[in-house]
Structures are given as structure tokens and as C-alpha cells.
Amino acid sequence: MTPPPSAATKSPPTVSLAGGETLAARLSTKTHDLLAAAGADRRLTWTNPAWQPLLGWTAADLGGTSYHQLLHPDDLERVKAFERDVLDGRAGDRPEIELRLRGRDGAFRWFSFGVSHSPADGLVFLSGKDITARKRSEQELLAAEERFRAVTGSTRDAIVSADAGGQIIFWNARAEEVFGRPASEALGMSLTDLMPERYRDAHRAGVARFLATGDGRLMGSTAELEGMRADGSEFPLELSLSSWTQNGELRFTGALRDVSNRVSDRRALREAEERFAGAFEGAAVGLMLAAPDGTLLRVNHALCELTGRPGNALTGRSLDELLHPDERCVDDDALRAMLAGQTQRLAIERRLLVADDGVKVVRINLSLIRSTDGEPLHFVGQIEDITERRGMVEALTLSEARYEGLMAHLPDSTMHLFDDELRLLVSVGDRLRAHGDEAQALEGRRLEEVLPPESFERMAGHYHAALAGESRSFDLDSSDGTATYWVQTAPLRDDGGRIIGGMALSRDITARRDAERALEDRARELERSNAELEEFAYVASHDLSEPLRMVSSYLQLLRRRYHGELDADADEFIDFAVDGAARMRDLIDDLLTYSRAGRGDDALEPVDTRALAERIADGVARVEHPEARVTVGPLPTVLGDEQGLGQLFQNLIGNAVKFVPTDRVPEIEVSSERVGNVWSFAVADNGIGLDPAYADRIFRMFQRLHTRDQYPGTGIGLAIAKKVVERHGGTIWAEPRPEGGTRFHFTLPATQVPA
């Protein structure tokens, strides 16, 4: 959380005061953090408006409530222990605690609370940051991590990850078997320790080239290499390599498979041509025999099954014709090299067109068979369906780094990765699970089957746009209108920039949308009822004054003409009646002033608040207390309604002079400081002070804390002040000064004032 501004920017003797001002300053910038003050009895004496949007509590709900009552039951003991630590000074300079608070709707949210304790008066200041989202993403992260472990633990492939320096940072159970090394030994070793000596220089050069230029020849493809076991023996392996970035650092992940058996199969084929046919037909993997020009001569049963086509639909056609149009060419150079005897084998991954317009990702291992005199006879191709495995490798690559990065920052979100056939490759987040299936079970299926039909219909155009290379982001209401999502779609590209699929990220922003709408509704409703109230107050007070004038005028006339001529009782009765009528007149006058203060008839104009405050201070002092000392510091020029602001200063300075014990000379200081995009004004006095319990109440109409005999007045001055400030878009509040007296604060927007 943000540390509070240093108290050193204030004068040293008022450190706790500076704390109070920080509270005020933060509130005035409309912080989203919860701010509160509580007494030694844990009862909340002041809360800022942020409690309402976050938890639904208004200041009125919370005032006088012990914050213990808002805690999650599981947190109570921990909080009590923390409080003891804070009181004993054992909690450090800046004590913080994470806890849950109950909202008005009964739901709990997580907060990180910073606490400062003022030993002098037992006050506790609380500042809470909403960390609900962070808590949730921490849990999601744990789940993602667990899933990653589960997948890597069960795969048939050895999974090895290394950092940019080649040091091994992940080693799954299968890797332990394949290389004969336990994870405890392998972690921290170099990748080069896994390969025979003769490959190491080429490996280092390749890594250096990739780091320098991003040219990763092996990235995203499959290669056959030799690996070295712990005992130094070598074995053929097949490697799928990918790179990813975690916290800005490059990582490599390889999926490796021991292919010793496959290699020896192939050797057997080459060695025993006459036994070829039997082995060919019976092989469990798809096999094909092709002429040196690529025409298919023969296919085996497994390949027919793989493609879903009968043998006679395949033979006679070129291998290229069976491949996806985007990648037909089997790499002529590599074929020529093989024909020229430079290479023995070619392993490529391609998309294979299968029956019913389907596509499968296959690995094709091509070998060239030569006659005994060395002439090329034909190619033997081994075709293996790796659609599933390919998806898994991609998912793995993602799950470790990218999920973390993405999902940790995006709670309430779902992410789909899909291929160019709109098949779901990966999905993360809550939404699919809500649909009824485990997300993993859905991977590999078409989005059309996975998503509710109306969702798919509305999204299909965006999916296709992503596949066409277009990134979009937009708000989408659910078809029944109950939810709103923020959706982003974008193409996914391979290392070569080719679009291989798309991504759709949707974030549930229903709560935010609802909150915004509710807020708008409430603001409108409030505005309307305020306007009505003002109209009512204006009309009522206006119409009341007419009969009141009669009552009061004739009472006065009665007293003037007949005082002393009736008996003593009658004189006293008339005096009470005259006094009551006079008081009612004052109330109606104030009510009129109050209702006018909110009418907003006057246009805003630049107001030099310093000149205004000085003028008013002079007037107030002259009338109320000629000895009063009013110091007006530098104050800004703001956009406002001069009459209203005059009333504001009049009431604040007037109160400051008025509420001072008779044996004391009033000393008032008016000051201001810039806090963010508002001006924060303060009017401080050396008066009778203020019980924090009433700090809110004093701003209500006709609320008085003292009898009229002690301090005269109708109790409307601060209500008018509040109205003026709020009409200018500011807030007003009061607090006792630790050294005695009261300090009133109010804010006004620091709008650019036209010169």
C-alpha cells in the first residue's frame, strides 16, 4: 500500500496533526481506500465515503459501531492480537494487517489495513486497501500451478525447463526415468550435461544466436537428437522446444521423448526389404511408400484410419495434396539433400487434410530407401497423429508463464485459445466450468460445441476477425442482459508471424457495470429529491413568513402600546411570545438562505478566495469580537459562486469567533494547500473544540450542540456551508485539534481559472 506522506513536511510539534491531515488529504482526493477513525473502544467515529461503494455502508450505518462487528469471525482473534501488538508498540513502524470485512449484503471482502494509533487520545486511524482481487488471483495462481504440476507429472514426455543461462529449473518425473537422474540432482545442472559432448558447442552457439537475434531454428518445431543418460550412455530422442518469458526472463521448455524403439524399427525396415510388406501393413503408426517424385505408391491400414480415407483414395496422389494448402510443400531442399545422400531422415510437422474436411497435426518422418547399389528407390514415411500432443505442449508452455502473468492480473476472466478451425486449445478461468464441464475436458473440441449457442453466434464474427489478423476489444452484454463482459479478441501467431489461431479474453464486468448504473440512478434520484426539497424549503419558508410577520408585528405592537398597563403575568406572556416569534423569524430567514444556497442560479466565476476571506474576516471581527485575530494565509483563486463562498467563509469564520470561551481571545487561521486536483482549505480556531462523535452531526440542519444561552444561533450555518461546498463539488468536515480548538476542512476543485 502507498506509504503516507512524510510527517516531516509539517511542523514538528504537530506530528499527530499531520497524520490527521494526511487522512484528510487522502479523503479529499476521493481515494478508493477505506479510511476511518475509531476510538479506544473500537467504535468508528468517522468513515470516508469509500465504505459505501466497497461495502455498502454509509457513514451513518457505521458511526458508533465497533469495527469488531464487521470482521470475519475467523479474523477476530488475529485482529485482537494485532491490536495488542499495536498498542504495545510491537507491531513495527507501519503496522499492517490483512482481514475481511462484512459488507451490507453479508459478503466479505479482503482488505489490507494500515493502522496508526494516537496514544494521547486513544484514537486509531485506519486505512484499508481492497485486496479482494489479489486474494482471489493468489488462489487461482495456486490452482494453475497445481494443474501444471499434474499435467507434467502424468505426461509420457520428459519435460525440462531451463533459464536463459541453460540452467535446469524444472524436471518432471518422466525426465527422471529417461535420463536416469532424480530431480534433486538435475535441477541446477546445465542443459549441456544432457547431451553428448559433440553436440555441446552447436547447442551453445544456437542458444547464443537465439538470445542475440531471436532466430530459434528449433523453436516450435521438432528435432531428433541424441541424449545422454546419467551413466553416459546415449539414446535417440525427439525434442519439441518452446520458449517463454517469465518476469522478463527468457525460459526454455522442452518436451522430450525417448525414440530408441522407433529408430530400431526403421533400421529393421531398411535392412529387411523383403519383410517390408508385412511390417508395413501391420505397423501401428501410419506408413506410406512414395516414389522419389512424391507420388504415393502404397499406404498402410493405420494411415487409412488416420486420414479416414480408403487406400485407393490416397495412392496415385501426391503427398502434397494431402497437406493443408498453406503448407503443401514438403521442403524441396530437404528432399533433395536426402536424395543426394546428405541426410538420412527428415522429420516435419504438418497439417494433414482428413476426411470430412477435418485437419490433424501430424509428424511425418521421411526416410529414403535405396537399392543395394545405392539408387533411391522410394521414400518411406511414418505419419503420426500429434494433434493432441501439440496442443498439450502449447498449453504447457502457456500454463506456466503466460497464465500466471495474464490471469493473476485479470480475476473474473476467462481466456480461450483456439486454432484456425475454431477448436478450443486452452481455456482458463471460471466461466467454462460454470458451463458444466471441466475446462480440460473441453479442450480440443469445437467452440461451437463448447459455448452456449447464443454466445457462439454472437462471438463467431469476432473469432473469424481474429483469425484474419484483427484485434478487437468491446463490451458485450449477455443475451439475457444479466451480465456484461469486456471482451478482447486477437490473433495468435507462431514464431514466423503466421496466424495459427486466436485468443478470446473475456472479463466479467457485471459488478462494475451494475455499480455504475446504480450510482447513476442514485445520483439522479438524489438530485431530483434535493431539488424538490429546496423548492419546498423555499416556498414553505416564503409562505410562512407572511403570517409570521403578522404574529410578530402585532405582538410587538401589543407590547409597545400596552406594556405596563396590564398585569405582570401579561407582560411576561407577551415577552415570551415576542421572543418565540423572533426566533421563528430567524429560523425562517436561515431556511430561506439555506434553500437559496443550493439553487445554483449564479454562473461560476473566478473568485479570489484570499481577498474574500480577508474581507469577511474583517466584517466578522468587527461585529462579533473586535479583538479576534484572524490570519488569512495564501489562498487560491477558484471558479465558484462568490456569494455562496462568501457565505461559507462567513459561517466558518463566524463560528470560529463565536465558539470561543469568553475568557479567551479568538485566534483563527485560514489556510490552504494543493492536494492533487483539489484545493484543501482549513479554518482552525482555538475555541471550545469538538467531540469527534458529533463531527458529522454539526453539518445537519438545525443541529446544535449547545444551548442558545451558551452560544446563540439557529444551527443552520454549517448546513449552509456544507451545501455551498457540495454545490462546488467539494467536501467539508471537521476535526478537533490535538492542541485544542477545532479545525474545519473543505475542498474545492482546482479548476484552471481563466486569466
Binding site: 416564503h542 413568513s545 407572511e546 409570521l548 410577520r549 403578522m550 410578530s552 408585528s553 402585532y554 410587538q556 405592537l557 409597545r560 423569524r585 430567514d589 430561506l592 442560479d601
Partner: protein
């Protein structure tokens, strides 16, 4: 000096009496004629009906809220009538609304005064009006 005449257009008998009392306390030689609504005020000024022998007043005190024809309408008719428009008209009303004040001056009122709530203030005001409008100010000849 001849006795001055004031026409008070005021529907509230309490206010009429109060004005009379204020004049009495000030011991002023003024004749106060009161009519309770706008139509009667105009009838009086134009010497119509029962008012055929009415004499033109030196000053008109006009309330805003009147039954039938309200103060603004009466003001408009007076100031739109070449026979009547020279007579000074003072609005004497409880309304302190800026809108009312502007509307009256727009229609050519000579002065706009808000009735004070306090009796002493009211008495003072009545005396002030008399002093200024009937003694200081030069009025048009009858």
C-alpha cells in the same frame, strides 16, 4: 401643504392596519386609501363605478400577491396607461426573489421594497417612504 394621498393595494387587512398604525405613530398628515385587489385598484384609479368620485393618489403602494388581478398585471396596466403612468408605484411585498424584483422593474416600477419582518423596521420603512416620496421627491402635477 395639502394633504397627500396614498393608494395601498393590499388584500391583507392586518397589513393595511399595520401601515395605518405606522403612519399614525409617525404622526403624518397622509390620507391612506386601501383597496383589497387589483381590479378595485384599477377601478379606483380610473374613477369607475363606486369610485367615481375618487381622487388621483400621489403614490401607489402595490402588493405582488393579490387576488384576481395580481400585482404585476396591475403594474403593467398602470404603466401602459398614459393617464396613470406618471403616478409613482412602489412594490411593497414579502417576496425577496430576484426574479420578482427584475419583473417589476422591467414593467416600469418606481421602487421595489421588501416588507421587513420586524415591526420597528416596518414602521421606519413607512416613514422613510413618506419622507422621500411625498416630501423629497418632486411629483408630477395632478
Amino acid at each position: 401643504m395639502t394633504e397627500r394621498r396614498i393608494l395601498l393595494v393590499e388584500d391583507n387587512a392586518g397589513d393595511v392596519r399595520l401601515t395605518r398604525e405606522a403612519l399614525r405613530e409617525a404622526d403624518l398628515a397622509v390620507q391612506l386609501v386601501a383597496v383589497p385587489d387589483g381590479e378595485q385598484a384599477l377601478a379606483f384609479l380610473r374613477k369607475e363605478g363606486a369610485h367615481h368620485d375618487a381622487r388621483r393618489p400621489d403614490l401607489i403602494l402595490l402588493d405582488l400577491n393579490l387576488p384576481r388581478k395580481n400585482g404585476l398585471e396591475v403594474l403593467e396596466e398602470i404603466k401602459g396607461d398614459p393617464e396613470l403612468r406618471r403616478t409613482p408605484v412602489l412594490m411593497l411585498t414579502t417576496s425577496s426573489s430576484a426574479r420578482d424584483v427584475s419583473a417589476c422593474y422591467d414593467r416600469g416600477v418606481n421602487c421595489y421594497v421588501v416588507k421587513p419582518l420586524d415591526l420597528d423596521d416596518f414602521t421606519g420603512l413607512v416613514q422613510e417612504i413618506n419622507r422621500f416620496w411625498l416630501e423629497v421627491a418632486r411629483l408630477p402635477p395632478h
